[in-house]
Subunit: 111 residues, 2 copies
């Protein structure tokens, strides 16, 4: 890839350059809202690897359009993908995205 921020990609190894920061920040930003964090968690932990929007909406005291908006933010951040099957729309996680973020946050300190 030829980047200058280390192959491990960890934030703690060396300073992130501006271009990479611009690329990664939107992912963190997408998770920076409690509703989206729960949505992603529901999607990521769903049995079968995907979940219907109809099963997400009821878990929040929010209208459909608002849930739809948050799902769009997650989608545009590259964290999830969706596809329609008949009447319903199913969302699934993009595992590589979470992996990238997780790698960025590695401290090298055992938890």
């Amino acid at each position: 890839m030829g980047n200058s921020a280390g192959e491990s990609g960890s934030l703690t190894r060396e300073p992130l350059d501006a271009a990479r920061a611009d690329a990664f920040a939107p992912m963190f930003k997408a998770l920076g809202d409690p509703v989206r964090l729960r949505l992603l968690s529901m999607i990521a932990s769903a049995r079968g690897g995907e979940v219907c929007v109809c099963d997400l909406t009821g878990e929040f005291h929010l209208t459909g359009p608002t849930i739809s908006h948050h799902l769009k933010v997650l989608r545009e951040a590259g964290l999830v993908d969706s596809d329609r099957r008949g009447t319903w729309v199913y969302y699934r996680m993009i595992p590589a995205a979470l992996a990238v973020m997780g790698t960025l946050l590695e401290t090298g300190i055992p938890v």
Copy 2:
């Protein structure tokens, strides 16, 4: 700790409840800005474990107050801590915070 979201804490294991989402979202939100992502990276990767604000400011095309604002956001999110020694203020990472976030993002899928 007696939580209901699993000891591993991973987002992918089971859905995050609202209270935990409220607790964790601000950390992600704090990293959701490219300037703060770079600031945290500079702080986290600094030799000696800490860095003087005077060494951060020059790396951005932003005024001092703006950098100060972003550092405050990182501090209030619990990601960094600061202390003044003489004229200068030094910031250092709180490693446990990054570890918590990293654990949340674990997919169980080897990178």
